[in-house]
């Protein structure tokens, strides 16, 4: 049962016309537009890949003179390519915008109920809630409701989900729904195979083989990969101007760390089989007041046990494992809700990376691409052919993998 009939049933009152005041909101021109509401009352209801969707749609919409107005609260994440009106419109002004929209797109939220009632076609996405209960009571016949497969489970109705269910809706389904409602004859011939849990958040890594420009992405966290190369001078010069996370397998000059300790967000220390990290180093770093995290990929359980005993009074060493091809296949099957899946990458299998490794004055999409010296031209060109290689699989959580006929 949907919400409104339930309210009617429990009160004994008939369902009539919805009332919500409308207030004029000045728009820069009379171009046709669609509205996007990318937030809702529950974080788990929010679709995380609207940036992906609109990176594909915006060029198509722009060429047809169609704009996208993003409505919502001022703290909502802005979606690239949209005109951001979050926090700038009152409820009644948002209502004004909805009424004139070609289409309304969003998660399960109030704007869907309103748009549906006033006859605007909606594209409504459901993860922890269900179309059966929470879709608008009234809506146009061509409205589209996209529901997560949720591995066949009932909706969680939970504010926070251990694994996001709404994230299981493939971006191409949203894109193609918009194109369909706009009467377009084209579709996006894409098949999403897997989207890693860290893909949604851009990630920057840098090998300190040169000083990092202090004006480069100043508010973006950067992880300095001392384990992959570079030298301490570049590290400390960069640290003098910006905050960094640091990853190392070897001790770092303590005077330098002490001098710039305010800019060291976190020091990640890896213990290897040929370990050079000493108790004195850990003790000194902690005494400086730098936050540390100790991990080990290489040590087996016996070695790790001994190392933990040795460093018992200084730090806790966490065992971490590298992701493998098998991990990818398992995760991709879960993403697609398939019991069996023969993974056969082709010339049309691509990945998009939201992780960038800066080294040698170039931009690389993964550690594999760095080691093979296969840079990309700029941050906007972050799609490349998928690689079936151990180093590639290690960073899979940052990738979006899909099949699509693309020009190389």
């Amino acid at each position: 049962m949907k919400l409104l009939p339930l309210y009617s049933l429990s009160t004994g009152l008939k369902i009539g016309k919805q009332f919500l005041a409308e207030k004029f909101f000045p728009l820069s021109d009379d171009s046709p537009y669609i509205t996007l509401h990318a937030s809702s009352g529950m974080p788990s209801k929010n679709y995380p890949y609207f940036n992906e969707v609109f990176s594909i749609l915006i060029p198509i919409l722009s060429s047809n003179n169609i704009k996208v107005y993003q409505i919502g609260a001022k703290e909502d994440s802005p979606i690239n390519g949209c005109i951001h009106l979050m926090g700038q419109t009152s409820l009644h002004q948002s209502n004004f915008l909805l009424k004139r929209a070609l289409i309304h797109i969003g998660n399960d939220s109030w704007s869907q109920h309103r748009a549906g009632h006033i006859g605007v076609p909606v594209i409504d996405l459901f993860g922890p809630t269900a179309e059966a209960n929470h879709s608008p009571y009234e809506h146009t016949q061509n409205s589209i409701f996209l529901e997560s497969h949720r591995w066949g489970r009932n909706p969680s109705f939970s504010n926070q989900e251990p694994e996001s269910t709404i994230a299981l809706i493939p971006p191409e389904e949203v894109v193609n729904s918009v194109l369909k409602l706009l009467g377009a004859t084209i579709t996006l011939p894409r098949e999403s195979l897997y989207i890693g849990p860290r893909y949604v958040q851009p990630s920057l890594e840098w090998i300190p083989d040169a000083v990092l420009d202090p004006n480069f992405a100043p508010n973006q966290p950067v992880l300095a990969r001392l384990d992959l190369g570079g030298d301490e001078n570049n590290l400390f010069q960069t640290l003098s101007a910006r905050k960094l996370h640091i990853f190392t397998k070897i001790p770092i000059n303590l005077n330098g760390l002490a001098q710039f300790r305010g800019n060291v967000e976190l020091l990640i220390i890896e213990f290897t089989k040929n370990n050079l990290i000493t108790k004195e180093f850990i003790k000194a770093v902690k005494s400086i007041g730098i936050k540390i995290q100790c991990i080990s990929y290489e040590l087996d359980s016996e070695e790790l046990s001994n190392k933990r005993l040795e460093f018992f009074d200084y730090c806790q060493i966490n065992k971490v494992t590298h992701k493998t091809r098998e991990d990818f296949i398992y995760a991709a099957k879960r993403y697609q809700n398939l019991k069996e899946w023969a993974f056969t990458p082709t010339q049309s299998t691509w990945f998009r990376s939201n992780k960038f490794l800066l080294a040698r004055g170039k931009i690389y999409l993964s550690k594999f691409h760095y080691l093979a010296d296969l840079p990309t031209q700029d941050f906007g060109k972050n799609v490349s052919q998928m690689v079936d290689h151990e180093d590639f699989w290690r960073e899979q959580e940052y990738f979006y993998v899909f099949n699509q006929e693309l020009k190389t």
Binding site: M1, L3, L4, L6, Y7, S8, L9, S10, T11, G12, L13, K14, I15, G16, K17, Q18, F19, L20, A21, G41, S90, L91, H92, S109, W110, Q112, H113, R114, H117, A130, E131, A132, N133, Y137, E147, S148, H149, R150, G152, R153, N154, P155, F157, E302, S305, N306, L309
Partner: protein, 239 residues
């Protein structure tokens, strides 16, 4: 690990745990702590919460006061109490670090204002328009925006079924603008849990004018409190 080394480490661990977490040892520490506290005469102590004063104005010479006097003044005049150790230390540090006195004053005023809000007791009879000849109906739905927009679709029917009845809506004040200009809504009431208690809302005497609300609806009881509408034993699996 070598078994003999493991045994040795186990022995050391047990010894360490005994020395630090022994029950008798810890009880002794608690006993010593209690004994060290000053004697309090609970028969004469006043347990009433002192009233704060959010309207207090700083004296003109507040910049001339020492940090110590300024802090004690704020506590005494605005919060009506002596400073606690943690609070005193915090404000002393802030003042030593050149925090503006006006800013600290504003913080105290905010605390006093918030404390004052907690003390407010609403008399429901003061909220309703009891002098009007109409009967009164109440719909209580605490939140949220989508649900409150949906229930506006029931208002027309309310007026058809209950003519000459003023419709009151009780919800969180942040949602009041949903009902702006709604011709069916007589008055909005800031949500308090009492407005969900049917017995309290419809309590009446033989004199109808002494009835708080003649009609009372709690639509959210089936959607926000009890979720059986979601399935009624039928799983809602995705399509």
């Amino acid at each position: 690990m070598d078994p003999s080394k493991r045994a040795e480490m186990g022995k050391l661990s047990r010894l360490w745990a005994k020395e630090n977490y022994d029950l008798e040892l810890n009880c002794k520490k608690i006993e010593e702590f209690i004994d060290s506290l000053p004697l309090v005469d609970w028969d004469t102590i006043n347990l009433d919460t002192p009233k704060s004063n959010p309207n207090y104005q700083l004296p003109e010479n507040f910049r001339d006061l020492s940090d110590d006097s300024f802090i004690k003044l704020l506590y005494k005049e605005i919060l009506n109490r002596e400073p606690d150790d943690g609070g005193y230390k915090n404000w002393s540090t802030q003042l030593a670090n050149k925090a503006p006195r006006e800013q600290i004053y504003q913080f105290f005023i905010k605390v006093a204002t918030d404390e004052g809000k907690k003390d407010v007791k609403t008399d429901i009879w003061d909220i309703i328009d009891k002098d009007r000849p109409n009967k009164r109906g109440l719909i209580t739905l605490k939140e949220s925006i989508g649900d409150l927009i949906l229930i506006t679709q029931l208002f027309e029917s309310f007026h058809e079924q209950y003519p000459q009845t003023d419709l009151y809506i009780c919800c969180e004040p942040k949602f009041f603008d949903i009902f702006d200009g709604n011709p069916y809504v007589h008055k909005l009431i800031p949500y308090q849990s009492i407005f969900e208690q049917e017995m309290a809302m419809i309590s009446s005497s033989q004199d109808s004018s002494n009835t708080l609300f003649h009609h009372f609806f709690l639509p959210g009881i089936g959607s926000q409190r009890h979720l059986n509408y979601l399935s009624n034993s039928n799983p809602i699996l995705p399509k």
